[in-house]
């Protein structure tokens, strides 16, 4: 018993050291907010959704974009629960503010900035990410280069506020310096207690890339202001599966 606990402690300590050696350091003074991600949080290096990071979401069809906005709003709702404003930078706003209420957001606290020029849009996102007074910054842009993404990530590491980059119909899924890459797809909903009609919104959440963490895929539902998991998460281990196949 004694031996096993000390073993666990040693492993934990070693893991921490390895993480530090890999360059991962949880920023001091980062918000310790529950982002309501539940099991998805386990994919991150220390079991919690990093808020001082830029997250990249990729969507292609309009339906996927709507699902992505829903998932992002779910996280945003938790981030905004202590008051404060969120900056949403977009070339053309498609979000219908009243719908955000179901994700626990007060829509009048979101500032929508409509900017058509991509260069100005990126500038605004960066300025927003530098402003510590905001809860979060959402940027709708299709193209994001590596250099730009690194600038955003650096801004975030200073200010400790999360950035969400929603890339709709990107020309290519190029490498960027964002902390994670997500893809959200809508799935057919399940009837609520065999009643006719549409059930709770159901999404397939794919975490394609995460720095120092384990990517995975989950099926979730937005139920009563919370994420609930439909199936047990199957954490994809690309290396292992490839080895097995090979």
């Amino acid at each position: 018993m004694d031996l096993s606990t000390s073993k666990q402690a040693i492993t934990k300590q070693l893991q921490k050291e390895v993480l530090e050696m890999q360059g991962y350091k949880r920023a001091v003074g980062e918000h310790l907010l529950d982002t309501g991600l539940g099991e998805i949080g386990m994919s991150f290096p220390d079991g919690r959704f990093p808020t001082a990071a830029v997250h990249e979401f990729i969507s292609y069809a309009t339906e996927e974009a709507a699902a992505t906005v829903g998932f992002m709003s779910g996280i945003l709702g938790r981030l905004m629960q202590n008051g404060g404003a969120c900056l949403w930078v977009t070339p053309k706003n498609t979000v219908f503010p009243p719908a955000l209420v179901q994700y626990g957001i007060e829509p009048h606290r979101i500032i929508f900035a409509e900017i058509s020029k991509p260069k100005d849009l990126l500038w605004t996102v960066e300025e927003g990410l530098k402003c510590e007074a905001l809860c979060a910054v959402v940027g709708d842009l299709s193209e994001l280069g590596f250099t730009e993404s690194r600038r955003l990530q650096l801004a975030v590491e200073q200010s400790k506020i999360p950035g969400f980059i929603h890339r709709q119909k990107p020309r290519s899924e190029n490498t960027v310096a964002c902390y994670t890459r997500w893809k959200i797809k809508p799935l057919p909903s399940n009837a609520i207690q065999d009643l006719p009609g549409i059930g709770y919104p159901r999404w397939e959440v794919q975490l394609l890339k995460v720095r120092n963490g384990k990517p995975g895929k989950w099926i979730v539902e937005w139920k009563g202001g919370d994420l609930s998991f439909v199936q047990t998460p199957t954490i994809a281990l690309p290396l292992v599966s490839k080895l097995m196949a090979g």
């Binding site: 906005v69 219908f96 719908a99």
Partner: protein, 499 residues
Amino acid sequence: MKRRYVSIWFRHLVADWLTRKRPELAGAPFVTATPERGRMVVKAVSMAAHAKGIQTGMVVADCRAILPELKVIDDIPGKPEQLLTSLAEWCLRFTPVAAVDMPDGVMLDVSGCAHLWGGEPAYLKEVHGRLSQLGYDVRIAIADTIGTAWAVARYGRIGPIIAPGGNADALFNLPPAALRLEPGIVERLEKLGLYRIRDFIKMPRSALRRRFGPTLLTRIDQAWGKETEAIEPVQPVQQYQERLPCMEPIRTATGISIALKQLLEKLCNRLGTEEKGLRTCVFTCYRIDGNLQQIGIGTNRPTRNAGHLFKLFEEKIQRLEPRLGFEQFDLSAPIVESLTTTQEALWRVAANKNEAAVAELLDRITCKIGNGTYKRYLPDEHYWPERSVKVATEFNEKAQTTWQINLPRPTCLLEKPERIDVSVPLPDYPPMLFRHRGSLHKVARADGPERIEQEWWIEEGTYRDYYCLEDEQGARYWVFRSGDYAETEPEWYIHGHFS
């Protein structure tokens, strides 16, 4: 404070300007003329032509008889006024109050300004010297009243400086026209042998009024300073304004930034002592060649944070064109609101500090990208989806009503509903399948309808029956039927996407 006025008389305004534009005209006798009742009438005369006896109002044919080599240039209507306005603006470097004095002068209210140049003689010398450098032939006078300054500038044979209280002495020997009278009155005075002001100034006022009308008395009183006279400044006097003249012309962005920082510091200090904050701010640069450039900024709430204001200006400094250099900078705050120290302290408290930081961020975005870039939405008491939100007009505007939570609303709303083709089993049933932008969607689940009536007092039209649909792939849509299946087939539209 004793008021002092400077009158500047441009003797050959348009001609001097033309000479400045076309150096080959320098020294040549020329006039500008315009056709009037079938003949060419002189409107402006150059100095050389004036010396030969040519005056405005003469006919060009007569002038040619006097001076065969006279050049005639087409007159530009409205030019004198335009020139005088820009000259008056240029004169703002000498005083904050400058006015156009039609038809050929500029009037400056220089109360309390002259000592900055080391006294009135030096001040007048500077004004005269600078205008002469620009190529204008001017006469200048300074006096206690507008009337006296005007008269001495145009008719005075004495020094240009009329000491305080010396109005009567200065005017005594001048002709009646120096009182800014209509030609008719002057003619009548001269007919009676009254060639000098001293000839009639001692006459009883009632007699003068009876003979020459009340204008004469008003003009006399104005010149003597018994009646106050106001001038209409070419630019409203800014209460909050700071100036910075430069020893040497400034041409670099760094130099301009330093000047701007100094001015902002001064202005913000002053605002601080008066418990005010500015909402708009204009930075004016006077270029050495007489050109004037401005950059302006606006803020969301009153502020006197010099660092923040400088950041807002920083983006715009590169738009200035210094060319040969700026010789003076001027910073004014046209819109100022009260911002007490307690209010400012309130902004600094945890939650409000954030608000201030967000306001400053939004100021920066507005300055960089333009007005109306960002919006905030508030709930509005309408069920009609397009009207259920309104844009907040004020930075701190609070929601009047609460957000609706019990109705299904799509995460993404299309800007305009788009037509879809549907197949519906029965009226009032949701569609079985629909085609949108060329792709077919088979409906697996549906909710609805939710009927939303058109608000007839706002807009005419039929009601909408909204359905939430989910296709076999799991994508969720918000579609509506406009109207019912009475006589004509109703139209179906898609209006949004659920997440």
